[in-house]
Amino acid sequence: MRLVARGLARLVPVLAAISVIVFLIVHAIPGDPAVIAAGLEASPDTVARIRQELGLDRPLHVQFVSFVTRAVQGDLGVSIRTGVPVAREIAERLPHTAALAFGGVLLAVVLGLSAGTWAAVTRRRWVDRAVMAVTLVAVSTPSYWLALMLMLVFSLHLALLPSIGVGTPAHYVLPVTALGLQSAGLIARMTRASLLDTLDQEYVRAARARGASRARLIARHALRNALLPVTSLVGLRIGGLLAGTVLVESVFAIPGVGRMMVDAVIARDFPMVQGGVLVVATLYVVVNALTDVASALADPRVRA
């Protein structure tokens, strides 16, 4: 419990730092949101009006203070491009990103753990070699390319799965695979290495000497300890997975937060970029706090 509280307490300074950084970055990059919003055929009058409406003509520190005071009240402002409140735009898209990221993590963990364990405990060398080769390919395949290849094979040639969009669980199979496969490869390799290490430890040999069955040996004794580094890896990978949603959402036309943020950056839609980053950062911190708790449950030393 204390751990959860500690994790969440970390949220405040992290979000404060992030909002300052994001605010500075979006205002530092060249390009004027009012100009882009107005469109090429618009007149300077229109641009000036939009700039004033958005408060972009005010000094930077004034804009920042107003952004922060409104943000702490849950008001993320209004999208420059669409004129719709940012909170509403994000709320509409967050479930898609959450489903995608959750699916990606689940796939990475389940596939990674089983493949890694299998490779470590098998007595057949070729299984080990094959698993390692496959995971190496998975780790080194860019998700963008993988996404298109999956579409090409499973949607176009085999016609098994829908290529783009959302709606049914089947729509998520390819995006989740494209998103999670790289992490699955990493987790598999980490699990295998860590498990092999553990299996060499004295206490495992002692347990074996006591006559523990092979399955029990691996499940109760070795795997539990071997999982510690894997858990931290999963925590780290979640950041990568969230970043990966940006690409995967664009390719599979999933209406999520990542794709929204790409559009927002292109249009210099400041409120949308700031809101999006804040929400994703919050997610990341919360999930990391949760993984910390998970490792604590697994390891008494961290719990202290």
Binding site: G31, I36, D263, I266
Partner: protein, 519 residues
């Protein structure tokens, strides 16, 4: 597969003569009851008075209507107005409106609705994005319930094409009054008189349009048109091939050629209002000298560029406007003549060329490759051009909101596309001397051009107007070049072979009213 296709086609062919006169037949039977269209981006808003992007226009075109419109050949045809005329004074336009038309929300369409709409788009406080297009309107008077009079500040030669522009659409005054600035931001706050009404809008996912059964004209043949944005070009093409979508636009050039060879796909190419060019920043030396700009113009091998880079979707420019535009004059392709270019450079005092920079953005198809091709041609005549690549937002920032002396760009890429398909909007805002102009990003200024373009704008006689625009184009295309004129774009749409009845407009939008998808 093949046999199914042939049977489908045969069935379709057998049906065609019937279908032309038959009432809507998109439900059940031979045809599917929905059609899915994919473009790169979602609409930003469905308020036609407040959009400047094609994606939004694509949807609003089906939902709203104008008093007069364009047909497929860009000729002016009646829409919500059944008849119209201009008085002797050249400024008073009288529109007789069609009777018995209702908006999707049930409100009646009448003269008062028209008045309210122009008051809306011209509202100086709301300042909708399309206000500048209509700034020549002085007032709109209701004559009787079905007649309006629109008075312009001066005789305006491009009045009809401007009134046919999608942003002259008449939106439901009832819904507009209720929604205020939120009009067009959700399905509920969108209502027009068009053949399709908006039933739902899930951001970035889909806009569902359904046939409006109370439509006054030829009703849509397919019950639902679904607009589904797919940002990634490769995925858009794959989705079409996989049959997950029926029609796509904005296709990468190498895919166009490949799709053309597939029996299951049809590719249509329509001459469009879009053109690609590079502009000069005329506040910078040596571009102030017209001989330098002429030299650059002759140094470019347009044929090679079109043949090797963009042949799938372009053809060489033959004037300052594209060939389907009102007011276009065919001045021929500019010849590739590096010898003449070197001579002109020497005359201008640059026998050994000079150094310059070309700014481009990948937002335009082949944007970077085009800059490289131009730079190579310039090197051939001694001009050393470095290339800067920017993202769209940065690029636009250079053009708008910066005073001329602060714009660091010297030669920069620019897409042109007058959304009224008329010479006035295609030349005046872009090349007329500041400050009357507002989109003259190259700070072009030529006294004769200004005079001619101003006269042409006020000229309502078609022949005299055409002669004036011809002169204006001779100046800006040949004598005192305002740009490196490269090519005009073809509007490319790919569809599954099962789709028929699509109409692609030179404005870069597809009309779906007659489209059907056979099963």
């Amino acid at each position: 597969m093949d046999r199914r296709l042939t049977t489908g086609l045969a069935a379709l062919l057998a049906l065609l003569p019937l279908a032309c006169s038959a009432p809507p037949s998109g439900d059940g039977g031979e045809f599917r009851d929905q059609l899915i269209f994919s473009a790169p981006a979602d609409a930003t808003t469905l308020d036609p008075h407040n959009t400047t992007d094609t994606e939004s226009d694509q949807v609003t075109m089906m939902v709203f209507e104008t008093l007069i419109g364009f047909d497929d050949q860009m000729q002016i045809v009646p829409r919500l107005a059944e008849q119209w005329s201009v008085a002797e004074d050249g400024v008073t336009w009288t529109f007789r409106l069609r009777r018995g038309i209702t908006f999707h929300d049930g409100a009646p369409f009448d003269a008062e609705a028209v008045r309210a709409n122009f008051a809306r788009v011209l509202d100086p406080v709301a300042r909708h994005k399309r206000l500048p297009l209509f700034s020549m309107i002085d007032r709109v008077d209701v004559v009787d319930a079905h007649t309006v009079k629109i008075v312009t500040r001066f005789p305006f030669g491009a009045f009809e094409p401007t009134m046919a522009h999608v942003s002259a659409a008449i939106v439901s005054p009832t819904v507009a009054a209720r929604a205020g600035m939120d009009f067009g931001k959700t399905a509920e706050a969108t209502s027009g008189t068009g053949p399709y009404r908006v039933v739902s809008w899930k951001k970035d996912q889909e806009i569902v349009l359904e046939r409006f059964d109370g439509y006054w004209g030829e009703k849509g043949r397919t019950r639902r048109i679904i607009y589904r944005p797919i940002p990634e070009a490769a995925a858009r093409v794959l989705a079409l091939e996989a049959g997950d979508v029926d029609v796509i636009s904005r296709i990468p050039s190498n895919d166009i050629t490949r799709l053309e060879t597939l029996p299951s796909i049809r590719v249509s190419k329509t001459p469009s209002v879009g053109a690609q060019q590079f502009r000069f920043n005329l506040t910078k030396k040596p571009f102030t000298d017209r001989r330098v700009r002429q030299a650059i113009s002759y140094a470019i091998n347009r044929r090679a560029i079109v043949d090797n880079l963009v042949g799938a979707f372009a053809r060489p420019a033959t004037g300052a406007l594209t060939s389907i535009m009102r007011g276009y004059a065919n001045l021929g392709e500019i010849p590739y003549d590096p010898e003449r270019a070197r001579r002109l450079l020497a005359e201008a005092g640059y026998p050994n060329g000079f150094k310059t920079r070309i700014a481009t953005t990948p937002r335009y198809p082949m944007g970077v490759e085009l800059a490289e091709a131009v730079a190579a041609d310039l090197r051939n005549v001694g001009i050393d051009a470095a290339i800067d690549v920017y993202d769209w937002g940065t690029m636009v920032g250079f053009w708008q909101g910066l005073p001329p002396e602060k714009n660091p760009q010297e030669i920069f890429i620019m897409g042109a596309g007058a959304s009224t398909a008329d010479a006035d909007w295609g030349l005046r805002p872009i090349f007329q001397t500041a400050p009357t102009n507002e989109n003259n990003y190259g700070y072009y200024s030529n006294a004769e051009f200004d005079r001619v373009i101003e006269a042409a704008m006020r000229e309502t006689d078609a022949d005299r107007r055409q002669a004036l625009y011809r002169r204006a184009q001779e100046i800006v295309y040949l004598e005192d070049p305002g740009a490196i004129w490269l090519y005009e774009n073809l509007y490319i749409v790919a569809s599954r072979a099962a789709v028929s009845g699509l109409r692609a407009s030179p404005l870069g939008v597809v009309t779906f009213q007659r489209a059907v998808v056979s099963r």
